[in-house]
Each structure stands twice: as C-alpha cells, then as structure tokens.
Amino acid sequence: MIINILKTLPWYFVGLAVFLVPSVLLIASLLAPLDVESFFSNQFFADKFMDLETILNDEQDPANATADFNLMFAWLNIYLLITSIAISLSWAIGSHFLNIDEPGKAKFFGITWTIISGILVGSLLIVNYTIFSWSNFFMAQQDITVRDMNTMVLISTIYYSLMYWLSCILGTARQARSAVLLANKLPARNFL
C-alpha cells in the first residue's frame, strides 16, 4: 500500500505543479510592494476588477486601495491553494485505501470521487465568499462590484478545480484493478 502511494505521489505533484507554479508566482507578486517589478503585473487584477470610481468619489488614494486589493487577492489564493492541496492530497493518498479491487467496485470508486470533487468545489466557493463577502477581514471587498466578485469567484473556482482534477487524475490509485476511470487510460499507467 505504502509503495503504491509513494509511486503515485510524484505523478500527483507533477499534476499539481502545472497550476501550483503560476499560482505561487501570482501570490508572490501580489504580496510584493506595488513599485517592485514582478513576474506578473501586480496591478493587473486590481485594474481589471477594482471599482475605481467609488474610491475616487471618496477622494481616497487609489494606490492604497490597490495595495489592499492585492493583499486580499493574495490571501484568497493562499486559502484556495491550501484547500485544493489538502483535498487533492487526501484523495491521492486516501483513494488507495478504498476497497476497489473487487469486480464491480468501479462505481463505488467513481461515486467517492464525485463526492470529494463536490466537497472541493463547495469548499472553494465557501473560501471565496468568506473573503469577498461574509467576513470583515479585508476592506477591499467593498471596492469590487458584485458582478466582478462573481466573475472572480467563477475564475478562481475553475482554476483551483482544474488543479485538483489534474493532480488527482495523475495521482490517483491507478494500480487498482477497478479503477477504470480516465486515469487508467493515461500513458503514465504503464510506468506504475
């Protein structure tokens, strides 16, 4: 069992890294001061989603508002990243413990995967709306319109769901006979 898990984990990390690296670079650039050059433009998301009109209407400094927005967006990505990694890693390891080696258990494997995927999407939405609406951690949540908030929620949920999906597809218990999901048809199957 442990050997199977250890065989799977590198592939899990390969799948994870595809989305993890851009995410970490984005977080680093968002946490950097505004005048520092970074891999991503640290004003891009603020320019795209921040409602500058209300800020200027109150004669507030847009630079301060942008810094607050970046901080909020960085922490949002950190929490989403932690959530995605925690759930995908749990699946990558936990799937080995499912009793799926018997004939006809593929359905059981698929149902569990679907439930875990649903929990992930639900968790991502909860994290998003906690940061953007329900909590009082970040004042910058008031500097985006409801429409832009929902757009950001949608984009981030899709992005981190893809991170989960790819890492799970590559890192799932593909040695199991009943695991006849897409994972078993990938070329990497031959290396396990």
Binding site: T54, N57, D58, E59, Q60, D61, N64, A65, N136, M139, Q142
Partner: protein
Amino acid sequence: MIGRGENINFIKEKLKKNQKLQDAIAENPDTYKFTMITSNVISENLNINKKVKDKDLINISSQSEGYKFKYKDNLPIYEFITSKNNFELKFNNSDFIVPGSNGVAKYKIEEHLWSLRGACKKNDKWGKSKRENLVEPVITDETLTLKFFEDTKLKWGYRWFMLANVYTARNGSSTQDEFKDWDLTDSDAANHMQSDPKLFKTLNLMNIIEMIDDVANEEFKPTLVASVALNFELEK
C-alpha cells in the same frame, strides 16, 4: 398680524394676558385665531444657545462604545463607533420656529462628507467625498428629523466625518389652512348671508392671506437653522 417676530410675539403676549379677551375666547374658542406672517420664521439658530443635545441623535445610544458628544466653537459633534448604516437627528420645531408662524415647508441641507480609510493615524489624509443627497429632512407639525445616509451605502472600516448645515428653503403656508374656515368666496357670499350666520366670514380672506404670504416670501432669505457634525467609525 404682520411684522417682525419679536414685536408680534410681544403683542401676542399682551393678548394672552388680556383677561376680557381670554374669557371671550374661552366661551367660544372658534372666534379667535392667531397667526404671524413673516419672511423669517426661524426664531433662533440652534447652535448659538447650544440647543442641539446628545439625545437628539435618536438611534445611537450614548452608552455605546466610543460615544462622545461635545461642542467645538458652537458646533455640536457626535462621535461614535457603529455598525448601523443610517442615523436620525430629531429637533423640536418649537425650539427654533416662531410660534404661530407659517412654519417651514422645505429645508436645504448643505452637506460635507470626508472619509479616512482604515485606522486613524496622524498623517493620514482625509478625502472629501463627492457623494450627494446624504441627508433627507422629514418635516412634521412638531418635529424636524434629519435622516442621514438613507440612500447611501457607506463603506465599513472607514472613519467618516459628516457636516450638515440646515437652512430653510421655503416658508410654509399653515396660516392658509388655519384661516380656511373664515374665508368666503364671491360665489358663496349670497348663500352665507341667507344662512343667518352668527359669525361673519371674511370675503376673499384666502386671497388676502396669499397676497401677504407672497410679500413675505419675496423677502425670504434662507436662514441657517443648525449645523451638526457626525464623526464616526463604521464597522461591518
């Protein structure tokens, strides 16, 4: 009666003290009406004699955290921390409107709003907001209520400073309502005479009152009723 407020009130007091007149009024109250028509119905600015009190801010408890009320150069300042989005200040009309006058039909509020993002630090710069229609005056026979931020959503996490200067914008016409019973139009005159009246109505009284009101309104100038300031931290 037409004239300056203090002179008219002097005469009104004299009439009140006239026992013969008061006895006659007691016998039949409908035979006496008093009104004062003046271009300025404001008896005094509420700030000068510090008539704006802490209890006038009716939906913020004076026991709440961070609550302070003080006058600075005759300007009453309410300071508080709140999560409420709107506030009400209520004044008694009797504190500033000349008794028996036409009253005020409309107020104009001169609004100034500043905000400070985040915690208040020494070198932070206050921003002057461009928002409008922040205060809605509600007029009743007894009170003037100023409703702050009814249609405006202020951002939490900010400190806000609101200064409202309340001016009269148009005098009322309560005299016309008061004397409507005594008015007699040309067309009703014949009927009235035939009804064997004990009290004679006045022909075209409303026209006369309207003309006098017009004269008073021509002389009308906006008068500052009160200035109030709210200095508050808005929480979520």
